[in-house]
């Protein structure tokens, strides 16, 4: 019934063939997949539940740090440290949400910036915990079945699996009760309550799921970087970039995050080579044009048009 699963399968096969066809752009491909995963995770809270977070770098950082510290200090395999990182991210989101979901709209967004900045400062200053401002090196990783986790191609496939998981979960949610509860809370909290929905409980569920999935991607990112600095990984700019990816692609849509990631990462790469110094300017103009012309994002506008056209054809 749901052809989105078929589309996903097709895309995964295509993406899996990419390193075979072109090995020179593998890092660009990896970055697109990574942002697809992060943006899809962010989208559960920011798009489906309508709670715009500018603090998701916190969960990226948590995932990455658990992998790095686990590997460098405890020789803990990354699959275990990623699971721990996800659990910690989930618990943190639960407390974070309980503290801030009394706030609405921009006030919630501001609170996410505040908390994320606090986490960043803790990571920089508490050296005993995080290695401090100098960062942490991953110098050793186990080799499961002889697979070298430091290998770029391996990391590419890890990111592909990550992006696929987040999309799979999004598609799964989209037709079910939980998905509609999220959208109801986003569109009108009072009407949602009149439908028997507890808005705070729904937002908390969305936040926990979103944080855990973001940390999963963060853990793989940690393996990819193999050197983690707190002011880079916990940076507000990363949070903004994740949010922007979804806003450009289409908030609350299945494919918006993937489209946003492809458009932003690939155009960013192209502009850097074509426009040299002016690349950020052109990048900024692109974002502005998309937001002005398509306020619901690329996929969001298309989805609305599709619904209208289908209805017109029936009638």
């Amino acid at each position: 019934m749901n052809r989105n699963y078929t589309i996903l399968l097709g895309l995964v096969i295509l993406a899996a063939l990419f390193p075979v066809v072109s090995s020179s752009y593998i890092t660009v491909g990896l970055t697109v997949l990574m942002f697809t995963g992060w943006a899809s995770s962010w989208n559960i809270l920011g798009g489906w539940a309508g709670q715009l977070s500018l603090g998701h770098a916190t969960f990226v950082g948590l995932g990455a740090y658990f992998v790095a510290i686990g590997a460098s200090q405890f020789e803990l395999a990354p699959w275990w440290s990623i699971l721990i990182g996800m659990a910690v991210a989930g618990i943190m989101a639960l407390l974070w949400g309980k503290l801030t979901f009394g706030l609405h709209g921009p006030y919630f967004t501001l609170s996410t910036i505040a908390i994320a900045e606090m986490v960043r400062l803790v990571a920089i200053n508490e050296g005993w915990l995080t290695g401090g401002a100098t960062g942490v090196f991953i110098d050793y990783l186990p080799e499961p079945f002889g697979i070298d986790l430091f290998d770029k191609t391996v990391q590419y496939y890890l990111m592909l699996a990550y992006a696929a998981i987040t999309l799979l979960i999004t598609i799964f949610i989209s037709t079910r009760k939980f998905g509609y509860q999220l959208k109801a809370v986003r569109d009108n909290e009072e009407a949602a309550m009149a439908a028997g929905i507890n808005p705070t409980a729904i937002k908390l569920k969305a936040f926990v799921l979103s944080a855990m999935l973001t940390a999963l991607g963060g853990g793989i990112y940690g393996i990819f970087l193999s050197f983690i600095e707190p002011h880079i990984i916990f940076n507000l700019l990363l949070s903004v970039q994740i949010a922007l990816t979804v806003i450009i692609g289409g908030r609350g849509t299945i494919w918006g995050p993937a489209v946003g990631a492809a458009v932003l990462i690939i155009s960013g790469e192209v502009f850097r080579t074509v426009f040299e110094q002016a690349n950020m300017l052109v990048y900024g103009i692109l974002i502005l044009v998309v937001i002005l012309a398509m306020p619901k994002g690329i996929v969001g506008e298309y989805a609305h048009r599709l619904i209208r056209r289908k209805y017109a054809n029936r009638a």
Binding site: A184, N188, A194
Partner: protein, 238 residues
């Protein structure tokens, strides 16, 4: 007949303003309670206090022998209170069917059953042919019916209707009155806030009149419209 709803000495105070002052109402199974009164009388506030959307300063609300005064609105919905909003509140990004689906999921967690319930609610209010239209594309009269479909899809025991007749033309009004009558025949009890006297007279088993937050009269529709205090509250004295 069983008493399904009993609001006892409800007081709602916003700062220094007493919006509802010690008002008691009760409702029996299958009956229609009409709430009338001039603008600003506190009808909607009382309505919100009973359904959990306005804080009660003092007094108690009992729903089927359960004290629900301290329960949040969404729990009261789960217990069987269904309501519409005076100003329509569609989920604008969803289609008409999906709007109703949100409500239908309450009692039917499976998509297929929920969709059937939602479709039948849409059929009842005459919106089935617009199921796949975006709700933000509906006109006002249809949004009103969508509100009703959303409340029906909850399969409520008591339905709270907030001015659903307002702005309807005579045939549509007649249709809506007939519709509410059929609902009560099926055992659903109704509380309605309404300005349209025709609807109040034709439907209400019991009418409560509010003015400036106080209950000034109650009884059958004919009792209250001939009550001097009521006439005075609506038209003023000379």
């Amino acid at each position: 007949m069983q008493t399904v709803l009993k609001a006892d000495r409800i007081k709602v105070q916003f700062g220094g303003l007493i919006a509802v002052n010690d008002v008691s109402v009760s409702l029996k199974q299958g009956e229609v309670l009409g709430l009338i009164g001039p603008n600003g009388a506190g009808k909607s506030t009382l309505f919100n206090a009973i359904t959990g959307f306005a804080p009660v300063t003092s007094g108690q609300v009992h729903f089927f022998d359960q004290n629900v005064t301290a329960l949040p609105a969404y729990v009261r919905t789960r217990l069987g209170m269904g309501r519409t909003f005076q100003t329509e509140r569609p989920y604008e990004d969803l289609t008409v069917l999906e709007n109703v689906l949100v409500a239908a999921f309450l009692k039917n967690p499976k998509r297929k059953e929920a969709e059937e319930v939602a479709m039948s609610a849409l059929q009842k209010v005459g919106l089935a042919d617009r199921a796949h239209q975006l709700s933000s594309d509906l006109n006002l009269a249809r949004l009103r019916r969508l509100e009703l479909a959303k409340a029906l899809a909850l399969e409520p025991k008591v339905l709270f209707l907030d001015e659903i007749m307002a702005g309807l033309n005579p045939p549509a009004l007649k249709q809506m009155i007939e519709f509410v009558r059929e609902l009560t025949a099926s055992g659903i009890s109704v509380v309605m806030v309404e300005h349209i006297m025709q609807a109040i007279i034709e439907l209400s088993d019991h009418v409560v009149v509010l003015a400036s937050g106080n209950k000034i009269a109650e009884g059958t529709a004919h009792d209250v419209i001939n009550n001097e205090q009521v006439i005075e509250a609506y038209l003023g004295t000379d």
